[in-house]
Symmetry: C2
Subunit: 330 residues, 2 copies
């Protein structure tokens, strides 16, 4: 099955709806997985090997402004036009091609992202999610959250989780067409929970998460054990969220993230997103916990850490990590 | 079963042999596992979960000088007497207790080690192996290599591999008394193969390999997959050695070591022996390989790396790692 088959299935007649003549804007928050998505069962449709669970990052994310252009696709990210021969441009255009009712419709896409791009902060997740939300407005599709989530997934797997905010679970699904692989928000809110961004540098990563993920699935001898752990972690994480058990949430998230990075170290050629600064911060967090300060971290396909802490411990944690940027989630 | 049961079984009558009146000396080289030992099936007898394969490090190791003392056990390591209330003293004395025919025999033990101690360079392996070799001389036991290997294992698991030099395989065995868990030298020699020590600092590690190993087995969700990989790596490593296939040897050794460290990251609480310097060196090695320079590494329960290279590439590798200390193995 191809992406275009899924798009036709979801949109049907709507594919021929006319575009709004005025620009539309949509925001999607980036999301940080507490239970990671690492490995695809279908790389065309971005269907995952496991379910995953994320938290959205408040006002950190992407705003996409979308309108019809009269003669070409034009993409501007953070004020800079993207060259037509770049990988990102081609990927975006290929995605937009799925939604063109005719070959003579062009888009003007202006994206503002307020997090570092291609650095393990899920810029592609919020980017594709906001684009899908904008398309939904531009063409007046009025799609359900589930359908929006599936369309966003076709752009970038974890984008499906950025359609909603708060705690979001991406159900892996089992169908080959992926119509049961979508994200949905959990009902719980947890206003005391904060995410602290610890950004070490803003260099782009030297291996994409897409490639790293594929190499892990193909070469890590530990991967089969991950499938089992991912499943158990998800169940335990949902329980921790229901019970507002921060120590459990922190432990599961940190262990899940470290295990994902462990898989990468065991791949061939080996993959490491650790910078020296990452390691030093990790050791410091472990030291703080020994001193009784409840702080945990998660790490994605980039060197940065995302701290997890409760509101009451923010100040103390900040005294040890002065550069941390706290994000209010709820 | 206890250690003393195994000692009685191996030594029998020999336990009552009188000690030589003159001091004896024995050297054992330290060994670096190319296929790691990580996890015990019996922590009293140091029986491993998997077989492992090592290479000895030429003249790097321990010399133990042993004689009878008239009134107490005295241990001197690198010229410094070990305090009687230290963990190391107690561990050594408990080991020597296994070999005392009477309560009134005392030992004078002088150990010279020419590698950093408790830093992941297998100082305990060569220490216990040289001690067992010295005991064998002091009491004229004339034990077989197999029996010496088993006795050394009772002191420290990997010490059983330091009884011989060159490539050594430790057969994990399946018996509960561990009489089939011993090390034996492989027939192959490989004079072109060099090990390069890359020592980052000489601080002692903050978690012993014994504790790290146990925590990994108890808490890492990835551990079951390791058992399978360890077995496959060992088979492939022996083939690479037979065929003198350096690229295979290097890849298997590096992947095996990284996977061991991956297991530790996935343990709880997480364990990391990486220093920032370790990471930087790893990245550099991966970069050198991309440039076509055949160099690999292995890493044990410490921050240091041991490079693997052929004689013809030593100079080039050294130009990138000026501090490397090459060890001729054969």
């Amino acid at each position: 099955l191809k992406k275009s088959d899924v798009v036709h299935f979801i949109l049907g007649e709507r594919l021929h709806y006319p575009a709004s003549s005025s620009p539309v804007r949509a925001f999607a928050a980036t999301n940080i997985a507490l239970c990671k998505y690492w490995g695809k069962r279908d790389s065309e449709l971005n269907l995952p090997m496991t379910s995953s669970l994320s938290i959205s990052l408040g006002d950190k994310g992407a705003i996409t402004e979308l309108s019809i252009h009269n003669k070409e696709d034009k993409v501007i990210v953070n004020g800079k036009e993207i060259p037509h021969d770049s990988t990102f441009y081609k990927r975006l255009i290929a995605f937009l091609d799925l939604f063109r009712s005719s070959r003579t419709i062009y888009f003007n896409i202006v994206i503002q992202v307020n997090i570092p791009i291609a650095a393990g902060l899920a810029s592609s997740a919020c980017g594709f999610a906001s684009l899908v939300l904008a398309l939904n407005q531009l063409f007046h599709w009025e799609l359900s959250t589930k359908d929006l989530s599936i369309l966003a997934r076709l752009g970038s797997g974890s984008a499906c989780r950025s359609i909603k905010s708060g705690f979001v679970e991406w159900h892996k699904g089992i169908e080959t067409d992926g119509m049961d692989s979508y994200a949905a928000a959990l009902p719980e809110i947890w206003p005391e929970l904060y995410v602290g961004l610890l950004i070490f540098n803003k260099q782009e990563k030297n291996i994409s998460s897409r490639e790293a993920m594929q190499r892990t699935v193909n070469t890590s001898a530990l991967y089969p054990a991950w499938l089992e752990k991912a499943n158990q972690d998800l169940i335990a994480m949902k329980k921790a969220i229901q019970e507002k058990d921060f120590l459990q949430l922190g432990q599961i998230a940190e262990s899940n993230a470290l295990t994902m990075h462990a898989l990468m170290l065991s791949a061939w050629p080996p993959i490491s997103y650790f910078l020296p600064e990452t390691l030093i911060a990790m050791q410091k967090i472990w030291e703080l916990r020994k001193q009784g300060i409840p702080v945990y971290f998660t790490q994605d396909a980039g060197p940065h850490l995302k701290l997890l802490a409760l509101q009451k411990n923010k100040t103390e944690v900040q005294s040890h990590f002065p550069s941390v940027e706290w994000v209010r989630v709820f």
